[in-house]
Symmetry: C2
Subunit: 212 residues, 2 copies
Amino acid sequence: MKLSQRQEEIAKIVKKGQPVTSEAIAEKLGVTRAALRADLAILTMIGILDARPKVGYVYLGEAQNTRVLENISKVLAGEIMSKPVTVSEETTVYDAIVFLFLNDVGTLFIESDGFLVGAVSRKDFLKNAIGGTDIHKVPVGVIMTRMPNIICGNAEDSAYDLAKKIIEHEIDSIPIVEKIENSPKDKVLYKIIGKISKTNITKLFVKLGEGN
Amino acid sequence: MKLSQRQEEIAKIVKKGQPVTSEAIAEKLGVTRAALRADLAILTMIGILDARPKVGYVYLGEAQNTRVLENISKVLAGEIMSKPVTVSEETTVYDAIVFLFLNDVGTLFIESDGFLVGAVSRKDFLKNAIGGTDIHKVPVGVIMTRMPNIICGNAEDSAYDLAKKIIEHEIDSIPIVEKIENSPKDKVLYKIIGKISKTNITKLFVKLGEGN
């Protein structure tokens, strides 16, 4: 792992004037404190800086072995994915919401004949529940986000890459799919075998620090 | 970081019979494949094992410097928290939901006279929207989870500890608070200054691997 230019500058500033508050670093670099947060977090995690509450940052030394950071992207989605919760297109929106609560998940995936056709998030349900949709009559297939407009992943994708997609596309979860062998030529079909959500990534992050 | 007994056993099994699939490891240890997932992820991240898609796990060698894992818990909540979105108790549930969408957040925090009195998540809103609550008349103060029944954190808490609380208590986010100096003796009051959610933790995880 190579430090960015700004991270190098921050390390230099702290080395020279420690302890230094994040406000002071931000002022020196002419950026907002918010813009520095991620860089300070990285420098703390790789052991170059230490954050002392109410005192500021101190310099600890050159970067430690950052091999762990490099290995983060080796954890495969298939290793940490959860079971997906699915319903059929004909389910009413109301019944789908009840099913969402029973399973305590944030997103329902919609299947038809064994393949993934759509997804509905808690946010989509809330929008429809207050927006005048007759949730007792309208089937979930009408309000779902339809394939191929859903970002999918494979069990062999790295969990890290999917975490990145979740952040970039501002979504809650990604279905993990397998291509159906006999898909018609004009339309590739997928079977859903799992899902990766922010919860899976947060759990992985917690696991990372266990045993310390 | 010390490996758990099971992690040691897994490493031994892979060293001996590599490449080994996770199914084969699970069978040898007499546990389910799901139960092994987190351990395999850890062993991969600290560089003892490598996961080869469709082949299995191979043994790479002794644990690398695991200093990064130890430093994970040094990132403070105050460094990565987001701005909280707040409304007053008198806001109707409907207006609160609209505000939730406008700000694209998962939880609204409720303030009264400048201090935190409650929280309402997207899940709470959905439950009320389909449950017969007159969302155009009922104020959000009636349906909110009330202090002190909300898990709070401080800016000086480690982000790691808050991630752990999010997973243990199955919540979406934690408000970051400061004690109000002149709190009455019988009731400590808090000001909300930020929040940490699964999104913040996922972003931190993504940041961790950047630059590789």
